[in-house]
């Protein structure tokens, strides 16, 4: 793809940011310099705040002047929470339920920045929270926070959560959030230090892990974890106290009079109803107003707009890191090498041709996919990293052009045959394109098939039941990990604002193979030494500005190589009643900000 701008130079950026910090360079000058490089002003100032340059924080305003008095808050989740121990949470639905009663040190706000919850302040280099050598982070805790049973919340609780979650006998699902942390040390009663295995720029690990009280779970660590009475009757620090729970159906809470946030929470009681389907949940919030909040409304945008016209509620789309992508198989799915197809040792006979991959990228009509399929639930993008906006590359542009694709393929020697399908050396441009069964994905598949046909590429479409496609069943040939097809489409779930987990999708040591039971996250089997080098550099780059530049460089690298075809990025979609004010974020659970919610009179 043509690029007439100079690429962002990591070192220059870092130096400029240092200058702004030291007061040698005015903010406006920094923004102007970046604008010359094609970086929009908001992105530039986000970069600065990320580098620790103070900026007026836009605090979401909380209006109520007293605790309570807001009546009942009724929320509808088409998938209800099935358990209430945050360390056992399987999906987002379970974590949501936990946030009513439990809290974390911090939560991510809508811009992907941390906002303190149980922490007194967010650690930074300036306040000494983040160690200069990148080996530890120190969190100071709010004083005067009490568990619902009156016991004080202290550093011991934070240390305990680390030990509890990382005990293999507990079989916790939160263990991954503590990945890279080797120890949690108590400094004093309200200060905790997480120590990292290696110097890492990802100091915010475990920041939004929801914390449980030591005194109720201490006796139930390891193998006895399933017997803890508090698994079903949470005692937390959160804005609401536990009342009643029926797994998968109903969760109720009441106002916590001792809550540590001033004038919070606003509602006297909360109710979280689960079950049913997303469409009728949207109806109950947007059209009849029976409920105040509808979670994760995966409903066609056209339907949502129609329901919204009753003006009982509105749809809120929060940017997140979720990206719908078409994976290109860089290995050969049609030949068996060492007892496995799509072996990392093989190369795809056709897709290893850069021209074919570029043509495939040019043939994806993302604008139409957004306009006719996703609506607000999917924004066309040519980048793999889109959010938070500070990490979004300005260099890659979305382009849909059948003419250019045809010209590229002609130039590369792919000639149309009598049936209209291009071929070269006896190989036809025919691909098997698989995805999970989902009406939205099937629509995208057929849009893509049509435009590919115009360029002489034939796509054979295949849809697999989601429970099979996404399973880790080693015996099933149709899983996304085995990838016995040329192309496959699904969504990357990017919950953390830092795209590190997604960027691992292209490193050579993560290639999915028989040896790792197809658990490697590099399912496209992409392999490039230059990319590996960039990724390794980003792992140890402590300067946030330089690291941002590396992330952008990795994004540009993958997109220019056409190693993958991004389709749309997918904001989280929520339904919110007209009077409800809820600072939602796509980077954390919807209910992580529940203490800040209120209803306007």
């Amino acid at each position: 793809m043509a690029n007439d701008r100079p690429a962002l130079d990591a070192r220059a950026l870092g130096e400029w940011a240092d200058d702004v910090r030291a007061g040698r360079l005015p903010r406006r000058e920094f923004v102007a310099r970046l604008a010359a490089l094609g970086v929009a002003a908001p992105v530039a100032s986000a970069l600065l705040s990320f580098a620790g340059v103070a900026q007026a924080q836009a605090q979401p305003s909380y209006r109520p002047t007293k605790r309570g008095g807001g009546g009942a808050l009724k929320m509808l989740f088409w998938q209800g929470p099935t358990l209430l121990n945050p360390h056992f949470a399987i999906g987002a639905k379970d974590q949501e339920g936990c946030w009513l009663f439990y809290e974390a040190l911090a939560r991510y706000d809508a811009d992907g920045n941390l906002a303190p919850v149980l922490a007194a302040a967010i650690p930074s280099r300036a306040n000494g929270g983040i160690a200069a050598d990148g080996r530890s982070v120190t969190w100071t805790l709010k004083k005067d926070v009490r568990w619902h049973d009156g016991r004080p919340f202290t550093a011991d609780d934070v240390v305990f959560n680390f030990a509890y979650a990382t005990d293999p006998q507990t079989a916790s699902t939160s263990v991954a959030s503590y990945d890279g942390i080797v120890a949690a040390k108590k400094v004093d009663t309200h200060t905790v230090r997480y120590e990292f295995k290696t110097p890492t720029p990802l100091w915010d690990r475990a920041a939004n892990v929801v914390l449980v009280p030591k005194h109720l779970f201490e006796a139930y660590g390891g193998a006895r974890s399933r017997d803890a009475p508090a698994n079903l009757k949470p005692v937390g620090t959160g804005p609401y106290r536990f009342v009643d729970f029926k797994p998968g159906d109903l969760l109720r809470g009441e106002l916590n009079r001792d809550y540590h946030g001033a004038n919070r929470p606003h509602f006297d009681s909360v109710e979280l109803k689960g079950g049913g389907d997303a469409t009728s949940a949207a109806r109950a919030v947007l059209q009849t107003g029976e409920y105040d909040f509808g979670w994760n409304l995966q409903v066609e945008d056209e339907v949502l707009s129609r329901l919204e016209s009753s003006r009982k509620g509105r749809v809120v789309a929060c940017p997140s890191g979720d990206v719908e992508v078409i994976l290109i198989n860089h290995a050969d799915p049609w030949t068996e090498v060492d007892g496995e197809r799509s072996s990392a040792r093989s190369h795809h006979p056709i897709l290893s041709d850069h021209a074919v991959r570029e043509a495939l990228t040019l043939l994806l009509d993302r604008k139409s996919v957004q306009a006719f399929v996703y609506g607000r639930a999917g924004v066309a993008t040519a980048n793999i990293v889109n959010n938070p906006s500070r990490l979004n590359s300005p260099n890659i542009k979305d382009e849909f052009s059948v003419e250019r694709a045809n010209a590229l393929l002609d130039a590369a020697g792919w000639k149309r045959g009598a049936d209209g399908i291009r071929a070269k050396d006896g190989r036809k441009l025919k691909f098997l394109f698989q995805t999970s069964i989902n009406s939205v994905r099937q629509k995208v598949q057929s849009i893509y098939k049509q435009s590919c046909a115009k360029a002489g590429i034939e796509l054979e479409l295949k849809a697999i039941a989601a429970s099979v496609f996404f399973s880790s069943d080693v015996a099933n040939p149709d899983t996304y990990g085995k990838f016995l097809a040329d192309l496959e489409m699904y969504a990357v779930a990017g919950r953390q604002p830092d795209p590190d987990t997604f960027l691992q999708w292209f490193v050579s040591w993560q290639i999915a193979s028989k040896a790792n039971k197809w658990q490697g996250v590099n399912r496209g089997r992409y392999r490039n030494d230059e990319y590996d080098r960039l990724y390794r550099a980003s792992q140890s780059e402590l300067d946030p500005i330089k690291r941002t530049a590396l992330v952008i460089a990795m994004n540009d690298f993958v997109c220019r190589e056409h190693a993958i075809i991004p389709v749309v990025y997918r904001p989280s979609i929520y339904g919110v009643a007209r009077q409800l004010v809820a600072p939602l974020s796509g980077w954390d659970n919807a209910l992580s900000s529940i203490a800040e919610w209120y209803a306007e009179a």
Binding site: I90, T173, S467
Partner: protein, 319 residues
């Protein structure tokens, strides 16, 4: 009689074992994995998933898992939900009251419609009443519950805004207000299920009554000068009820099993919605427990129907 009962109960044991083996094998062979949801969560590495599979013994051979399940079941341990991490019996018991209330009420409604309408139609076959009732019954059991359910929601919840379409097991109101709320939220699911079931039963009651009403003893009863009311209720109905009792008894396990589709539409937290959720999440212990209880109930109510048969018709004896 006692010996018959004992024999039937003994026969039930191998059938239940057979059912449990089939259920377990089918569930074990079905694709999917209770922890597959984790695969989509980038914050949970595959090792956690593998550790959990090991923790819950999912990687053991099927027969080992089956015997572990059987031994636990014999000890009264119903299993442990992978997804909710609670005992399965707690999970099921929490759903029983709502199921009994909603499905039970709908069955009562169905009987209240089917018996009088069916008998009256049969007493006056091909009258206007019979024709209208037959037509409505045909329409009633031809329309699936998901269709009538959505129609009622569109009319009463969305157009008229009279009734809520989300069922809540814990109403915050107390006293009379509770009863009013409960009535308002239950009326649609109960009507949908009751009318569907009632329509089928009406046809059945009508034909059973028609079979009996033309018999000679009925003519004799009439010629004795008995009033029509007494003839129908005492002489016709009692004999006509024998097949109907079997039918009703065999549908009783469904009261426990819940109504999967209707519960999903109205978000009734019954056993049916528990089962469908468990199936979707591959929560095998829950699916296994619910279906096994269901199998037990089918066998038990079969037996009960046979016993009732003898009580209603003394000509039948047990050997």
């Amino acid at each position: 009689m006692g010996q018959y009962l004992l024999r039937r109960l003994l026969i039930a044991v191998p059938s239940l074992l057979g059912i449990s083996i089939v259920l377990f094998t089918v569930l074990a062979l079905a694709p999917g994995d209770p922890f597959s949801e984790m695969a989509l969560n980038p914050n949970i590495p595959p090792e956690v998933q593998a550790a959990l599979r090991k923790h819950f013994g999912l990687d053991d051979p099927i027969w080992q898992r089956y015997f572990r399940w059987l031994v636990a079941m014999l000890h009264g341990d119903w299993g442990f939900s992978f997804i909710s991490r609670v005992d399965v019996d707690t999970l099921i018991l929490s759903r029983v009251p709502v199921t009994l209330a909603v499905i039970g009420a709908s069955q009562v409604l169905a009987l209240l419609i089917a018996l009088p309408v069916g008998i009256y139609s049969a007493a006056r076959p091909y009258s206007w009443f019979d024709r209208i009732a037959s037509t409505l019954a045909l329409i009633g059991f031809s329309l699936p519950t998901f269709f009538t359910g959505l129609l009622l929601i569109l009319l009463f919840s969305i157009k008229l805004d009279w009734l809520p379409f989300v069922y809540r097991a814990d109403l915050s109101a107390t006293g009379w207000a509770w009863w009013v709320e409960q009535f308002k939220q239950s009326i649609m699911p109960i009507t949908v299920l009751g009318l569907f079931q009632g329509a089928g039963w009406t046809r059945y009651v009508r034909s059973a009554t028609l079979d009996v009403i033309r018999l000679d003893y009925v003519t004799t009863a009439r010629s004795k000068g008995l009033r029509e009311r007494a003839v129908i209720l005492k002489h016709v109905a009692r004999n006509a009820m024998i097949p109907v009792v079997t039918l009703v008894a065999l549908t009783m396990p469904q009261v426990f099993g819940g109504a999967v589709v209707t519960e999903q539409i109205f978000r009734v937290p019954g056993i049916g919605s528990l089962l469908i959720d468990a199936i979707q999440r591959n929560d095998t212990p829950v699916v296994m427990a619910v279906t096994f209880v269901f199998a037990c109930l089918v066998i038990a109510f079969n037996l009960l129907a046979d016993l009732l048969y003898g009580w209603l018709d003394p000509r039948i004896s047990y050997r």
